[in-house]
């Protein structure tokens, strides 16, 4: 199964066996969210929401308090700027503040450019800054399943920073580890695909790259392993993100640098607003940009 099919089957089981619910705007109108939701018209646990981004997150929190463990789908991750408040300010705080849990699974879906200011890229950085919420960015079927199982076993809000480009992926992406590397790349979300392309080009140029895929953004899992790879890399590392650089990627880079002797750079969206015209778009780092950055660091 590819990732979309994996999500779809997880969702099917959740609504049919767990009495879970799915909440989404335009749920059925746009191909069942890229075929990631089971086509079960009129199923009472598949709930169409109005186009009211500021209150819909609150409905999801209410469903969570009702014990329904909702899956809340935000079709464009940029819409989280309006949707996020209930998850970050209420659900994330509830256990620490008031002693009860708000288990809600937030599917925030990124895509890659092409729609200008609709803000379609990743925006996981706005979520990671709040205490009490988990942030995860899967790209493969196994990663998605792992994240879902984690959500079902714990009791707080879980932010799944998805990417449309993951939907067709039907393979896994293991880390690439060398005993002694020139540099370690730490890609996030769909930037992992660009990074793997860049690594092929860099290898041809004689550059030895580690690749440590970052799936858990908060808490940042695998810190010790990342440190080990970093220390074994002559030229440090680069976080490659699909969000703006002034977000979680710089936080991770900071933490890694504080614990190591190596520099960690950041590559992400440029510090400018995307336009509709292709030449005005603002896309995650291309393989070429990653290659150029590595070569610049290595002065090659």
């Amino acid at each position: 199964m590819n990732c979309a099919e994996t999500i779809r089957e997880i969702t099917r089981e959740h609504i049919t066996k767990n009495n879970g619910v799915v909440l989404c705007q335009a749920l059925t109108a746009a191909g069942w969210v890229g075929n990631s939701v089971p086509e079960l018209p009129d199923h009472p646990n598949l709930i169409e929401l109005s186009i009211e981004d500021t209150s819909n997150g609150g409905l999801a929190v209410g469903y969570a308090l009702a014990g329904r463990r909702p899956i809340y789908i935000c079709r464009y991750q940029g819409f989280m700027w309006k949707n996020a408040s209930f998850f970050t300010n209420y659900a994330a705080k509830a256990k620490e503040m008031w002693g009860y849990s708000v288990p809600v699974f937030i599917r925030a879906i990124s895509m890659e450019g092409g729609i200008g200011p609709v803000a379609s890229n990743s925006h996981h950085g706005i979520i990671t800054r709040m205490p009490g919420i988990k942030v995860y960015a899967p790209m493969t079927p196994a990663e998605y399943t792992t994240g879902w199982n984690y959500f079902m076993e714990q009791d707080g809000p879980f932010y799944c920073s998805e990417h449309r480009r993951s939907f067709k992926i039907d393979y896994e992406m293991p880390d690439i580890v060398h005993p002694q590397a020139d540099i370690t790349l730490f890609p996030i979300s769909a930037a992992r695909l660009e990074t793997l392309e860049a690594v092929k080009q860099l290898e041809q140029a004689g550059v030895v790259c580690n690749v440590s895929h970052l799936v858990w953004l908060k808490p940042f899992a695998g810190f010790e392993k990342a440190l080990e790879l970093l220390e074994n890399s002559s030229f440090g590392g680069i976080i490659v993100d699909t969000d703006y650089e002034n977000g979680v990627s710089k936080c991770i880079a900071h933490d890694l640098m504080m614990q190591s002797s190596k520099k960690v750079r950041v590559l992400g969206l440029e510090e400018r607003t995307a336009g509709f015209a292709p030449h005005l778009d603002n896309l995650p780092p291309s393989p070429q940009k990653i290659v150029e950055t590595v070569k610049k660091i290595m002065k090659k």
């Binding site: 209150s55 609150g58 409905l59 209410g62 009702a66 503040m97 002693g99």
Partner: protein
Amino acid sequence: MRSAHLGAIPKISQTFTEYESLEIFEKICLCRSFERNAAKAYDEKLVPGFPVYLSLGQEAISAGLSLIFHESIKRFVQHRCHDIYICWDGDIKALRDELLGLPSGCSKGMGGSASIHSPETGLFGHDGLLGTQIPIAVGYALGTNQITLAVMGDAAAEEGYVLGAMGEAVTKKAPVFFVCYDNNLSLLTEIKVRRSWSIVDEAKAKGMPAVDITNDPWLVAHYAKALSKQLPAFLNIRTCRELWHAGSGCDGPPEWNRYELVKKEMAVLGLEKEANKIEKETENFVDSIWNERRN
């Protein structure tokens, strides 16, 4: 429009039993004694440096509602909700300790006055952002199909997500009873300065029954019972906040004194003697509870 008699139904109190009227009055007294003590504790600086939102003057609404909606109903509320906590049998000592910032508080001191939560008694407060409790209440009602009380103030009613959630409640036929404690003030800014529309008209336009009344507790109970059969529904209740938005300050007497009006009505019902006894007993009871923390 605002008055002590808005929507009044003559002799409505006489449609309730003596027991019910005494219960209403006892709850009112309990709330008022608690809030007076809280104000005193605030003045004595026992409250550790955060604002308190006292419900003095608004308690008749909660007393009326709690007569109809019993303990099992989940209540989603915002700041200025001490009366709601008390009227549904919340532990007064835990509320006191919450205001004092103690670990024995109902939210272990984390919520303070603004964010009272007591899930074990069915009370869910807000998160400090005005009105967030309303969409959550609608989601809860849809998720459980249980009658749910969604309480807001007249300022929260202006939040876009409150209006959006009211629409969703109508669309999906959520069993939500919306109540607006309308004291006309956001801090000190009156409704007429803030908006040109009425929340009752807004509720009606969305397709739910909506009524605008004064804070007579018997009238409140009457409409709570009637509208609870046609949910979602909206009840806007004009009331008077006796003290400042936050803290214990007072700018003078309220537009109308509901407490005095209720006492008069108790006398009309032939319950003056019982009311006086309740008034004194609750005062002594609540004073003793607060004095535990003064010694």
